[in-house]
């Protein structure tokens, strides 16, 4: 009876090469970039934890328990409790949702908008390019956090505003990188061919040029992920990000570091570790992905 599955597999010829090509790429990535693969595993774990947060968190992250304030790590509270008796582990698990939402939201949005601007800038060239680049330069002259701080002060600190505030300063950084790849694509004959075929500017930018800058785009998304998470944590730490009682890593650190650093160090250590590990994993994965996708960008 063991013969049957083998026959089925052989008859399924169309599917076999496609599946194995994807698998081969993943296997190749794991073999050549073991660190990147570990980082990818960590990221997947984080995403899984964030998705399943209500299921795996042992306590309600906002439930106040005055009977268990500032408890040290124990069997009941693995990572201890905070000054309101809330379980640190549960808050960490739920906090990963905030971190990933802000991280993915702002990095994907900023990379996408940046890619559009960069490609458009390269495609039109001339004056459009000049003015767009000067505006980008103005944005680039501010450090990320200063610009994000200013924006969040103007916009307010609801979650969508936070994502916007983190996204906007990253747009020009992405636009700059994408523009440089798009400039070389602008010179490719197939772009002229698309023009000679009578296609409009929008179609050429979106359908013909954007897919060709996919590699730098993906690299920018992963590179921004770590930064965005760090930025969100920083803003929350400064009290301008997510507000209590929403669980967020930076916020947990803020509550903990100032008053309880000596009395209850677990309150600060674990969120700090979570932030470091998340940022580290995303950066490591981003670097490996960059090397895997585009060896020419390695030196940047």
């Amino acid at each position: 009876m063991a013969v049957n599955p083998a026959i089925e597999r052989v008859t399924d010829l169309e599917e076999v090469p496609r599946r194995s090509r994807g698998q081969a790429a993943v296997a190749d990535f794991c073999r050549r970039r073991p660190l990147g693969a570990i980082a990818a595993a960590a990221i997947l774990l984080m995403v899984a934890v964030a998705l399943a947060a209500p299921l795996i968190a042992p306590y309600d992250p906002v439930a106040v328990n005055f009977g268990a304030m500032l408890d040290a790590p124990s069997a009941a509270h693995w990572l201890g409790t905070d000054s309101f008796g809330r379980d640190v582990l549960s808050r960490l698990i739920h906090g990963s949702r905030t971190a990933l939402l802000v991280g993915f939201g702002s990095s994907i949005l900023s990379a996408t908008l940046g890619a559009l601007l960069g490609v458009a800038s390269a495609y039109f060239g001339g004056r459009v390019d000049l003015y767009l680049q000067r505006v980008m330069d103005i944005f680039l002259s501010f450090p990320l956090i200063i610009l994000a701080l200013a924006l969040v002060t103007i916009l307010g600190n609801a979650l969508p505003n936070l994502i916007t505030a983190i996204m906007i300063p990253m747009i020009p950084r992405c636009a700059l990188v994408i523009r440089s790849s798009a400039l070389s694509i602008r010179e490719m004959p197939y772009v002229d061919a698309a023009r000679a075929a009578g296609f409009g500017h929008g179609r050429i930018i979106l359908r013909h040029m954007l897919p060709n800058v996919m590699a730098p785009y993906l690299i920018m998304v992963t590179a921004f992920l770590g930064q965005a998470i760090l930025l969100e944590a920083s803003l929350s730490f400064l009290g301008l990000g997510v507000q209590e009682p929403i669980p967020a890593w930076g916020l947990m650190l803020r509550g903990a570091a100032v008053e309880f650093a000596e009395a209850a160090p677990w309150m600060a250590i674990f969120p700090g570790l979570a932030i470091s590990l998340a940022v580290f994993a995303f950066n490591l994965f981003g670097d490996s992905l960059r090397d895997a996708l585009d060896p020419r960008l390695r030196t940047q």
Partner: protein, 336 residues
């Protein structure tokens, strides 16, 4: 047959740091319906810029069409709006580019690239466009079209890609195809196949063609009429047969002499045209070919010859010394 395209006094310039380059300097030529016309000349003589000018795709703001008219089916393309021009490109005038390796988008499937124009210009549904794409690939001789449409350009050989580019140019049944060095990047046997294909398709579909090339062999076999360009100007025009039999401009003569021929005794060496093409930012007052010309006289240096009709009304050449060229005075001797 009426005139399909007539270019009148076209001047296209590029502004560069070293001055104004007069890439196309007042050329006039036309293409009859269904006819194959060749534009011949060496690199940088303005052939490609002529084609790009017709499509109005000269890279702005450095390049600019300064003067002239481009009448296509009676309309002046230079007066059309950008939107109107977009409806002409691809729909009424198709274009075949030089490099089949790079004129197809590597990240889009063959099918997508072929159907896109059909959907945009002819408003076809995706299903109809697909059916037409299969038909088109068959037309240009690519077998197993249904499977091929799902593939990407890197899965095609050079010759097949150029067939694909031709299919794209012909997709919307244009009345004119501009082919800018369509075979330069291909090896010789494939060149012949591609040219045969283009010729037979142009006959079958009644499409007029403008072939831009520096390959005189191509011209001899496939063109009805030939325009020879030098330094942004047309210096001789005749039917292909007449041009080969009786070249009347020293440059044309030089071009023909620099090609190895099978129908003549083997000479030990080819006769190249000595010297360099002129700097297009500083064209001389007289004839631009003077520094390299074996027939030059004092008049050539001070006065620029215009195109003048010769014995046949269809044969024109811009040279003061057409009579001496016709006699076939040997340039080598004249130069000494």
């Amino acid at each position: 047959m009426g005139t399909l395209l007539s270019v009148e006094g076209l001047v296209t310039q590029f502004i560069t740091s070293s001055g104004v380059v007069r890439a196309v300097d007042g050329v006039t030529w036309d293409v009859e319906e269904g006819e194959t016309v060749a534009l011949v000349g060496e690199s940088g003589c303005g052939k490609s810029v002529s084609a790009l000018s017709i499509m109005r795709l000269v890279a702005e703001p450095a390049g600019r069409i300064v003067a002239g008219r481009i009448l296509f089916k009676g309309r002046d393309l230079l007066q059309l709006s950008e939107e109107g021009m977009r409806r002409v490109r691809g729909r009424e005038i198709g274009m075949v580019f030089q490099e089949p390796m790079t004129s197809l988008n590597p990240v889009l499937t063959i099918g997508r690239q072929l159907t896109e124009g059909l959907e945009i210009h002819l408003g076809m549904s995706p299903t109809d466009a697909r059916a037409r794409a299969v038909e088109l690939l068959g037309l240009v001789g690519i077998p197993d079209a249904a499977r091929r449409l799902r593939q990407y350009p890197h899965q095609f050989s050079g010759g097949m890609r150029q067939r694909m580019v031709i299919a794209m140019a012909l997709a919307c049944e244009p009345s004119l195809v501009l082919a800018d060095e369509p075979t330069t990047a291909l090896d010789v046997t494939i060149q012949a196949q591609i040219l045969e294909l283009m010729k037979s398709l142009s006959r079958r579909l009644g499409v007029a063609m403008l072939i831009i090339t520096h390959n005189l062999g191509v011209v001899a076999r496939y063109a009805d009429r030939v325009n020879v360009m030098y330094a942004g100007r047309i210096i001789e025009r005749a039917s292909a047969r007449e041009l080969y039999a009786h070249p009347r401009h020293p440059y044309t003569l030089g071009l023909l002499r620099s090609v190895p021929r099978l129908d003549e005794p083997i000479r030990a060496r080819l006769d190249p045209i000595e010297g360099q093409p002129p700097d297009l930012t500083r064209l001389p007052r007289g004839c631009a070919f003077v520094p390299r010309c074996a027939f030059r006289t004092d008049r050539c240096i001070v006065e620029r010859p215009d195109l003048r009709p010769l014995n046949g009304a269809e044969h024109v050449a811009a040279c003061w010394e057409v009579e001496r060229v016709a006699v076939g005075g040997c340039p080598k001797v004249a130069m000494a």
